[in-house]
Every structure is written in C-alpha cells, then in structure tokens.
Amino acid sequence: MDSLLAAARFIHYAAAIQFFGGSVFYILLIPAGLRPTLLRPTRIIELVDALLLFLSGIAWLLAEAANMGDGPQDALNPSVIGSVLTDTEFGHVWGPRLALSVFAMLAALPRADWARWIALGLATLLLGSLGLVGHGAIDSGVLGLLNETSQALHLLSSGFWLGALLPLLYLLALFRNPERRPLADAALRRFSGLGHLAVAILLLSGVANTWFVLGSHIDLGAPYQQLLLVKIGLAGTMCLVAIVNRYAFVPRIPHGGPGARQLALGTVVEMVLSALILGLVAVIGMMSPT
C-alpha cells in the first residue's frame, strides 16, 4: 500500500506541476502571435494532466483510507472513505481537489483563450492546495498559516520552472523556422526573466519549509533528512544546469547557431532531474521528519 501511495503521490505532484506550468507558459510567457501554434500542445497537456490528477487523486484517497483505517481492505470500504473525506484535515482538502480536477478536464476542452485562463486558475488552486496536506498541515495557528503559505509558494514556483520545461522544448523546436524565431525569442526572454524570480522564490521557500518542518530537530541519521539532503543536492544541480543553459547556450541561439539544440538538450537534463526530485518528494512526504 505504501508503494501504491508513493506512486500515486509521484504522478499527482508531476501532473499538478505540469498542468500549472503548461497553463502559465501559454498565458504569461508566449506572445499572442504564438498562441495558435501552442494551443494544441497546451490543451493536450491540460487534458492529460487533469485526467492524471483525478485518477492519482482517487488512488491517493484510497491509499489514505487503508493507511488511516485498518489496512488494505479499508481502501475500498465506503464508510472509511467517507470518514476520511468528511472527518479528516486531509479529506477536507481532498474532496474539493477531486472536484477541481474534474472541472480542469472540462476547462481543457474549449479552444478559446478564456478557457486557458480558467485552466490557469484551476491549476493554481490544484497545485497550491497540495501545501495544505501532509507536512504542511502539522502546525496550527499563525505558524501553520505561514507554513502553508510557504509550501504553496514552493509548489507554485516549482510549477513555473519544472512545468515550463515541456512547453519550452516545443518552443525551442520553433527556432528551426526563421519566420518563427523573433516570437520564440521573445517568449524565451520572458521565461528567462520570470525564471530568475521563480528560482529565488523556490530557494527561499525551500529554506523556510525545512525550518517549519524540522526546526531545531536536525538529525542526519533520520532517513527523511538524508533524502532531503539528496533532494537539495539535486535542486542545486538543477540550478547549475539552468545557469549553463541560460548563460552558455542561450547566447548561441541567434542567427541559427547551435544554442537552440544545446538548450533543448540542457532542458531534457533538467526534466530528468525534476523527475528525480519529484520521486524524492513522493517518498519523503510519507516519512517522519525526525
């Protein structure tokens, strides 16, 4: 049941981040002239990830019913599932999130721009509210509110960065077409500018989250803290790759240079690192911090 929950958590985090990143890329980063080109991939990202959010959300709920109840037989016990939804802090967040993921599937269907705005709003709620369950829920009062805010900021800024990587690959392919280059270049500049801000928020909120969850209980013998260190190491590696991408490869893009291809390769490396980080997130969220 633990493996099932870890798998559901991994898919859920990845889908929430990809959904948010795809929506924000379309609304905030690309010039209007590129919207017709990116509409189809954006809607596919939205539809697939909303579906994954719903299915993995159900799996996560059933795994919680088994964990909180009396074992695997309670995963499909309607009264236990009902009790998880109505009586627990997890359930009070989870019921509305499942409903939001259904609305998200519907929002992916229309082709009009207003539907992308609705999708972005739903994506923000779906990703940010992940900070309200698990270790984000352990404090109460003002401290609890600060903890949840910091968790939400961490999730949203990671969604901006990690979730933009897939549409970024699509954007980089446009550099092969000389007519598309000026618009693609404008989008890349905007991603780079806001990306610096997102990374800054990501690092600061990461430090804050560590403090909220661990405080002074530093014990590097605890598996949670060892894996957290690995995660921080991977995040640091990802920052280095991003710096190479931005300051070594981006300047080589103009005039059909090799930069676009190199940046695409660097982006794939970032995606692999992202997947490793989310795998760690899926696992350490289930462990005791100390």
């Binding site: 633990d2 909180m68 109840g69 692999v272 997947a275 490793l276 289930m286």
Partner: protein
C-alpha cells in the same frame, strides 16, 4: 542525442525503483508523550477516564484505544473524544470500572498529516 536518451531512460528506471525501495521506511509521526494515569503505575481505584497526550494533533475518527484486562478480555469503554482545549490529547471515558490486576491499553493514533502510529502500555489496578 541517443546517449543522452539512454541516460534518461536509466535514470527514469532508477527513479521508478526508488519509491518501491524506500517506501517501507514510513516512520512514526504522532508519539505518545504522556498518559493519565501514567503508564506502569498502580492505582488503587479504577479511574473514570484515560487521557493520552500525543506529540501531534490527532484525527479523532481514526484514533482508537482498546483496553484489555489481565485475562485478555476486552473492556468496554465510552467513545473517545479530543480534549476541547488540546487537540493533541485523546480522552477515553470509562463507562465501567477497570478490572483488578494488570490492564493493557493499546492505542492507534492518526496525526493531522495522515500518519498512523500504534503502541501500548499497562496499568495495574490494585484493591
């Protein structure tokens, strides 16, 4: 490109294996901090309630206490409730007096972050 793709495939395989390998390490979250009457003590008269204080806020619906007498037979208790002033403390009213001799209290606690912990302690009822 092919080399980087095979590297990506290798890392993905390692990633998929990772949760399976480490998922069993899920550890304790809500720990029992103190209890009334205190564990291991001898009391002369049966208490009217048991109070179990934990390190974390509890989910009442999934936090349970089972009481057993020295003969291993379960003792009926009232419905557990949270202390209105402290959501980390579980109060179990005792509707009938505890039997004389050693009494085992087995608890299951689910904390607000959804994690379950279990434990037990004993009391001795003299008299």
């Amino acid at each position: 490109m092919l080399r980087s793709l095979s590297l990506a495939a290798l890392l993905t395989a390692a990633l998929v294996g990772l949760p399976l390998a480490t998922a069993t390490q899920a550890l304790a979250h809500a720990a029992l901090v103190s209890e009334m009457p205190a564990a291991g003590t001898t009391v002369t008269a049966s208490p009217t309630e048991l109070r179990l204080s934990f390190s974390e806020t509890l989910e009442l619906s999934f936090s349970k206490v089972a009481v057993k007498g020295a003969d291993g037979n379960p003792v009926m208790t009232g419905t557990p409730a949270l202390d209105p002033n402290d959501a980390k403390t579980l109060i179990v009213p005792l509707t009938s007096p505890l039997p004389k001799g050693s009494v085992t209290i087995e608890w299951t606690a689910v904390s607000a972050d959804g994690h379950k912990t279990k434990g037990s302690y004993t009391l001795t009822i003299a008299g």
